[in-house]
Assembly symmetry: C3
Homo-oligomer: 315 residues x 3
C-alpha cells in the first residue's frame, strides 16, 4: 500500500483493503453497519451526508456494485455522480490520476473506485488531497473490502460474534477472486476457527494466499461439518482459458446441490457474492433454499457501504 | 397474468396491463393524473414519495420512456436508480428474476420495467415480495399501460369524459404495437363509441385483438368523420422484413397529411406516441398543427406516471 | 444566430455564444461566478433552483463537461436528467428538435446541449418555448461559452480585473478548437492588451478568426513576456489527417516544458481546458507546477456554470 488507510489515531481515511486491517476498526464498521441495517429508510439519516458529493468512478463496469453504493449514499443524503470512466476522458488518453484530480476539483468529496488492476485504487488514494476519501469497490484480484464487511456482517448475524467457533469453506475460483482474498483477510482478522479452501488445482493460488487454510480439491470433504459455505462465481472465461472443463464437469465436481449441502453442519449457511450462475456453481434449491443468505448479503451490502461512507465522510 | 394487479379491495398492487382492467380503477387513475397535471411543479408534492426508492429496470433501452418516469418520480420526491439491464449483470448470465430480487434486497420499493417479451413484467411481478410494486413500462406486443392512461387522459381533456360519443381511428402497424393494443383495451373499458383500425393487411393482427373494431386498409375511409386519429410509429424493420414497400409507398397510403385530415370530424384531434417518423406516417403540418395533441400526450405522460407511482407507492 | 440570447432589457434568455456578447453581462456573470466560487457547498444555495429540472442533452458524448454541469445544478438544488441523445430516440430517426420539444413537454426548464455542428444549439434555442433556457455546452468549432467564462474567471482571479494590461498566448490547434474561439471572443470583449496565437500553419484558421491577434508559428517567440499561456489539446485525429507529424515532433515544437515557460513573464500562469495529453502539448512539471491553474479552471467551471444556471433559471 502506498498510502495509509488508517491514521495514527485509528481513524479511517480511505478504505482500500482488508489485508492487515485493524480488528478494532473492522468490528466498529460491523457494529455501525448493523445499526444502519436496523434503521434502513429512516428519513433522519438523510442529514448524515447532506451537501456531500460522492462519485462512483468505475474503470471497469459493474452496475450491481455501483447501484448498491448509490442507494447507500442517497439514503444518507449525499449527492451521487456516476462517472463511467470506461467511456469517458480516460478513453481520450487522460490518466486515471487526472480524471480523479479533475473530479476532486469539481467538488467531489468521496470516490468509489473500481479498477481491473491490483493496487490501482491505493495508488489513486495517494494522489488525493487531504479531506478526499477513496473507497475501493474492487480492484485486481486482491481487494474488495466492502464485500468483506458485508460477508462478515452476514456471518455474524447468522452465527454470532465469536468467529473462533466457526468452520468456513470457500469454494471455487479462488485464484482469480478478489472476493475470496478479501474474505480470507477478514476471517483471519476476526479469528475464524477453521478456513477450508476448495477448488480444482487450476483455480487455486500457489502463493502465500492460502497460508493457514485447509486446502483440498475434494468438495465433499471440504463441506464436512462446516458452518458456512462461501461459493464463488465461475467466470465463463475460465473455460476458454482451459482452466476448467465443461460447465457440466464443473457442476458435478464443484456445484453446490441440496444433497451435497447435507454434509455441512446442521444450520450451515450458504453465501454467494452474485451474480450467480445457477446450475453451475450453485443449484436453484440451494440458492433459494432456507440455508441461503444470498439476499441477506445484498441487503447487508447497502448497510455496510452506508457504514463506510459515514465513517469516511460524515461530520 | 400470473399475478393479480388489483387486490380484492380494488387496490392496485402492480400496474401490468390494461387488458381486463377495472373501469373504476382506470377512471380513478385518470382523475389523479388530471390532478397532478394541474399541480406540476408544486413543491408540496415532494413529500409524496420522500424516502422511497424507484428503479427503472430496462431490459431493452428506451431513454424517452425512462426519462418520463424519472421526472415523474423525482417530482414526487422519490430517489431514482437507473439500472440498464442490457449492459449489466444480466449480460453476465444472471436471470431477470435474480436481478429483480437483488435490487429489491438493496431497498428498491418500486420497479419500472421494460422488456421485449410478452408477459415478462407480469412474470417478474409474481416473484416480488409483498410491498414491492412493479410497473410495466412496455413489454412485448401487448402491454404498455401507462401509455394507455396518458392517451385516455389526452382524449378526455380534449373531448370530455363521455367516451361513448367518440369515434376513434388507430392507424398503422397495429400488429407489432403494444401502444395500439393498450389503447384498444383502454378504449373498450371506457366504452368508446366506435373504434376503427386501419393499416395494410400485413400489419394488422389476425387473432382476436381487433374484435368489435371496424377494420379496413383504406385510410381515407377510416378517417371519415372520426373525432380522434391515433397514429402509430412505423418501425424501419418492417421494410427489411418485407411487410411494407418503400417509405414513399407507405406515406402515400398511410401517411397523415393535412389534406387527408380534413376527412375527419371538425375539431378532430391527432395523437402519436412518438418518436415520430416525420414524412412517413405523419406530415410536419399535422404534427405541428392546431389539431395535434402530441406534446400534450408527452406532458400527460408525466402526470399519468405520477398518478400510478402515487397509487402504488404512496403512504 | 437565429435567436437573441440577450433580450432588450439586457437579460440573458439563453447562453449560446460569447461572440458579440455584451461586456456588462459577461462581467456580471464573472462576478456571480466569483460569488459562487466563494460559497461552494453552502447548503442555503440548495433553494436557488429547487423544483427546477435541468436536462443535459448531449448529441456527442462528454462525461467531463456533463459532470461539471450536473454538480453545478445539483448544488443549486435542481433536479438533473441526463439524456444521452447519441444512444436514444435520436438514433431511431427522431429530429433533435422533436427530442427537445418532447423533453420540454415533460417539464424540463433548462437544457444543457452539446452538439457536433456549428450553430446547432442556437437553432434549437429558436424552437424553445418562452421560459425554456438553453445553454450551449459546446457546439461545432465556434462556441463553448461556459468555458470562456471559467477561463476569464481564472485569469481575473490570478491577474486582476484589468485585462488591458494582459498579454495572453493561445497555443495549439486553434483551427479546430471551440475553446480557442470562445476565449478569443471573451478576451476581446474584456479588452485584453495583446493576444498572441501560435501553432503550426496547418492548425491555424485562415479566415477572420484571428483578426487583431499576433500570429506566429514560433512558440518561443509567442511565449516571450506573456502573462498567461492557454494551451490547447491536440486531438490524435490531426495526425491521421496528416495535419501534424509525429507526437514527438509536435512536442518538440509546441509542447510546453518548464524550460520554455521561463520565456514568459515572471508569475505567468498556464491554462489548459483538459483532458491533457501529457508529454504532447504539455509536460508534467508544467501541468503540476506552481504556475499551473488547470485544477483552478476545473473548480471555476462549476462556479461559472452555477452562475449561468442561476441567471437563466433562478427566480
Amino acid at each position: 500500500m502506498t498510502v495509509a488507510q488508517v491514521d495514527a489515531q485509528g481513524r479511517l481515511r480511505h478504505f482500500l483493503t482488508l489485508e492487515g486491517f485493524p480488528r478494532t476498526v473492522l468490528v466498529r464498521l460491523l457494529d455501525l453497519a448493523q445499526h444502519f441495517d436496523e434503521r434502513r429508510g429512516d428519513p433522519a439519516l438523510r442529514h448524515t451526508l447532506a451537501g456531500r458529493t460522492v462519485c462512483t468512478l468505475f474503470f471497469e463496469p459493474s452496475t450491481r456494485t455501483r447501484s448498491s453504493f448509490q442507494i447507500a449514499a442517497q439514503s444518507l443524503g449525499a449527492d451521487v455522480l456516476n462517472f463511467d470512466a470506461s467511456t469517458s476522458s480516460t478513453s481520450k488518453g487522460e490518466t486515471a490520476r487526472d480524471t480523479l484530480k479533475t473530479l476532486e476539483a469539481m467538488g467531489v468529496h468521496g470516490f468509489i473506485v473500481r479498477h481491473k488492476d491490483d493496487g490501482a485504487v491505493a495508488a489513486l488514494a495517494a494522489e488525493a488531497r487531504p479531506g478526499t476519501a477513496l473507497i475501493n469497490a474492487g480492484d485486481g484480484r486482491i481487494a474488495h473490502p466492502t464485500q468483506g464487511v458485508l460477508d462478515m456482517l452476514t456471518l455474524r448475524q447468522a452465527k454470532g460474534a465469536d468467529f473462533s467457533r466457526l468452520k468456513v469453506a470457500i469454494v471455487g475460483d479462488v485464484k482469480h477472486s478478489r472476493v475470496a482474498r478479501t474474505d480470507l483477510h477478514a476471517l483471519r482478522t476476526l479469528g475464524a476457527g477453521e478456513i477450508r479452501v476448495c477448488g480444482p488445482a487450476s483455480l487455486l493460488p500457489t502463493d502465500a494466499t492460502l497460508e493457514g487454510c485447509t486446502v483440498t480439491d475434494d468438495f465433499d470433504a471440504a463441506l464436512e461439518g462446516v458452518d458456512a459455505v462461501m461459493m464463488l462465481r465461475l467466470q465463463r472465461e475460465r473455460m476458454e482459458e482451459g482452466l476448467v472443463g465443461s460447465l457440466a464437469d464443473y457442476h458435478r465436481d464443484y456445484g453446490l446441490s441440496a444433497a451435497r449441502l447435507k454434509r455441512a453442519a446442521p444450520g450451515a449457511v450458504v453465501l454467494h457474492p452474485g451474480p450467480m450462475n445457477r446450475g453451475v456453481e450453485i443449484d436453484d434449491d440451494v440458492a433459494d433454499g432456507p440455508q441461503s443468505l444470498i439476499l441477506r448479503q445484498v441487503a447487508n451490502g447497502v448497510a455496510a457501504r452506508m457504514a463506510v461512507l459515514e465513517v469516511l465522510l460524515g461530520a
